[in-house]
Subunit: 437 residues, 2 copies
């Protein structure tokens, strides 16, 4: 395929994506396929000779779409949102076209420098303490990781290296393995200090944890993967109070800030802590600017060596939505979650299981876990909406997460009426067949 | 931005990307900017109100492009290739549009199933032993990682977990930390068993390492990040002989197989080794198919939880190039590297520093390291082509890597004439100012 054909096919693909997203509501949110559906639909091995774009293109609807869970359907209320917006899609096209690999400043200066500045923009949007910003000559700064898990791993490894070096300088007779055996990572069942847990969007008390960590010289990492985006609204920023005690902080614009996956934003107060842990300097990656102290080489900040030009997505989204546009998006989702909460509360068969703070509602039928498992099954079998469950203190709970960029009040009402009707149907048969617990 | 505007802007972006790649040869391959160039060109913080697409779009040429190292220029001979092709760009547009997060089978069955089948296709293309394939009911299989570093880390963690459990079952009195202190990872200065090192594309002797690892019950991981793509050509497949002794194998189609970054393919003989090390089962990620043993949940195979629909890129590229098209691409690059090698060999001022096996030529002026450092500096200062160096046994060596999809014999000739002329100029002044070593 040459550039001329790409112009043609690229435009067809733009229309296909626009059609898909414009009419996504008409597709069944969860697919009908059974495990192993795809293999019989494709060849056993790659073709020897090229196939045409048309051949491949027609297989999208035939082979791929029947097996897609439509995360951007306004009837998708499962997991947490995965961000998607047109500006981010445009930026990703540019990112692919440029196709640079930004492991060092020299490997593509724009890739590194835009990322540093965008992480400053984003840090200011959530009002991070100044120590976390790179600015012109700060000691902190931000980086885009692939996921919150990678950010947590990086924080853990940096903390481990830092404390091992500290102990070694005091007790040089100890080996690294001996020191490692004595290290402790304090964690809850959500691992680190977490703002907005996946199960029920609960919040750790940073103002209690933080001073303790600082006093005991413990690295504090805060994971606000989902909730972090809400902190761009002043009325939710108080949930981040205590971040000033942390060494590192992370949230995922690719969840709730309209920046397509992957874009997990991580900040550290001391960039030297990361660089010290991961520095890698083969000659082929060195360049004459690196000893000036003026440049950032992001390969020292992450597990992979290679990295895409992901900050373009942030740049496009932050500018084309503006802070106000993004705040509106967050506030709409939170308004809709409270709408759903009120609908649940008006039905005395149901209970709310955790405070609704952001876009997640945890709810259940008053009754046994089995009853609620049966309700969830009937919801997901009907495939008109899609939810996933969680456990809260032994209780089986349904999670209703406001996810889609295009979800509106009508979809919330539909979802509730649907759930309510399925509950009515279920309770009728249930009361015949079971004793209520 | 709504779908209607996306249709318009998306098509403009397709044209921009097509223009960029079609005329990339006219851009200076390495940028003129100095560290810190970008910050003064953009605002201090994100705008409160939305800016228009036009405003953002015009900043691409103004702010971004002056700082881009053009990896796809036919004058780019640095590092290793980063793959780029039009079919892969089209697939990435689709991937972004679908925007699913494929951490489990249920989160988007097509995303998981296409990946498993594509890794079988790719495994067959490099003629991997059958144990590495998933097929309908194999014990092995493949997964797309973000980078070879992640694949290596995953292999290391899986190997560690496996051996710790084995030791614990024999000596239950030992703690995990005690066992860890006794573990050994055998590595060269390239870490694990490597096919095609970054410095000079050398190859470890798998047929010697493999039986030893098997005898001593050592997990063998093979990293063929760059070289792996060449194994689709029968005449280079012998370089992979010995893979039958390995536990895991990895190469990067995003380097040399025309699949845009990121797409790092990893296979294991026993998928249970990975899953055993990383299994994570909160209720909200469970689904009723997982106990059937029929489905793959790729979150157990990787560090991150989230994952994009990256197998679409493989599907588009393998089908629209065909095996033969991809073989032609590999063979063209290797032919061009030998062309460059011959040009070097005809000039007795120069020497070749390592056997040219694939697309990399390591060469230098006969003389001191300082002389060669000066030559590289004059090459990169002129910015007509771009190279990076390496160290081979204390010697400073220039690496000439055939990279661009569109590089042709004329570019190789130009590069050599340019280097040769710069060497002539350099040697004139050098002989005046220095004693030859």
């Amino acid at each position: 395929m040459d550039a001329a054909e790409f112009r043609k096919r690229g435009k067809e693909m733009v229309d296909y994506v626009a059609d898909y997203l414009e009419k996504i509501e008409k597709r069944q949110v969860f697919p009908d396929v059974e495990p192993g559906y795809l293999r019989p639909l494709v060849a056993d091995s790659a073709p020897q000779d090229p196939e045409s774009f048309e051949d491949v293109f027609k297989d999208i609807e035939k082979i791929i779409m029947p097996g897609v869970t439509h995360w951007h359907s306004p009837y998708f209320f499962a997991y947490f949102p995965s961000a998607s917006s047109f500006p981010a899609l445009l930026a990703d096209m540019l990112c692919g076209g440029i196709g640079c690999v930004g492991f060092s400043w020299a490997a593509s200066p724009a890739c590194t420098e835009l990322e540093t500045v965008m992480l400053d923009w984003l840090g200011k949007m959530v009002n991070l303490p100044k120590e976390f910003l790179a600015e012109k000559d700060g000691q902190g700064g931000g980086v885009i990781q692939g996921s919150a898990s990678e950010a947590t791993l990086i924080a853990l490894l940096a903390a481990r290296t830092k404390i091992i070096r500290q102990v070694q300088s005091e007790k040089p007779e100890l080996t690294e393995a001996e020191i490692m055996g004595t290290l402790v990572a304090y964690a809850s069942d959500q691992f680190c200090a977490t703002l907005g847990t996946t199960s029920c969007c609960s919040f750790d008390k940073l103002l209690e944890l933080g001073p303790l960590c600082n006093k005991e010289n413990i690295w504090m990492h805060i994971d606000a993967a989902y909730a972090g985006s809400a902190f761009i609204c002043p009325e939710f920023r108080h949930l981040l109070n205590g971040v000033e005690f942390a060494d590192s902080f992370n949230f995922n614009p690719h969840k709730w800030l309209l920046v397509n996956f992957d874009c997990s934003a991580m900040w550290v107060k001391k960039r030297s802590d990361l660089i010290g842990a991961f520095k890698l300097e083969p000659l082929y990656l060195q360049h004459h600017h690196q000893e000036s102290g003026l440049v950032t080489d992001y390969r020292h900040w992450q597990i992979p060596l290679g990295r895409r030009f992901r900050s373009l997505k942030l740049w496009f989204v932050l500018r084309m939505y503006g802070v106000r546009g993004l705040q509106e998006h967050i506030r709409k989702h939170i308004r809709l979650s409270h709408q759903f909460e009120h609908l649940v509360l008006q039905d005395e068969r149901f209970e709310i299981c955790a405070e609704v703070v952001l876009g997640l509602v945890c709810f259940r039928l008053k009754g046994s876990n089995e009853l609620n498992e049966a309700l969830l099954k009937s919801i997901n079998d009907a495939k008109k909406i899609h939810l996933v469950p969680c456990h809260l203190r032994e209780k089986f709970v349904l999670r209703f997460a406001v996810c889609s960029r295009t979800v509106e009040s009508t979809h919330i009402k539909f979802a509730w009426q649907h759930i309510s009707q399925l509950a009515t149907d279920l309770l009728k048969t249930w009361e015949h067949n079971h004793h209520q617990q």
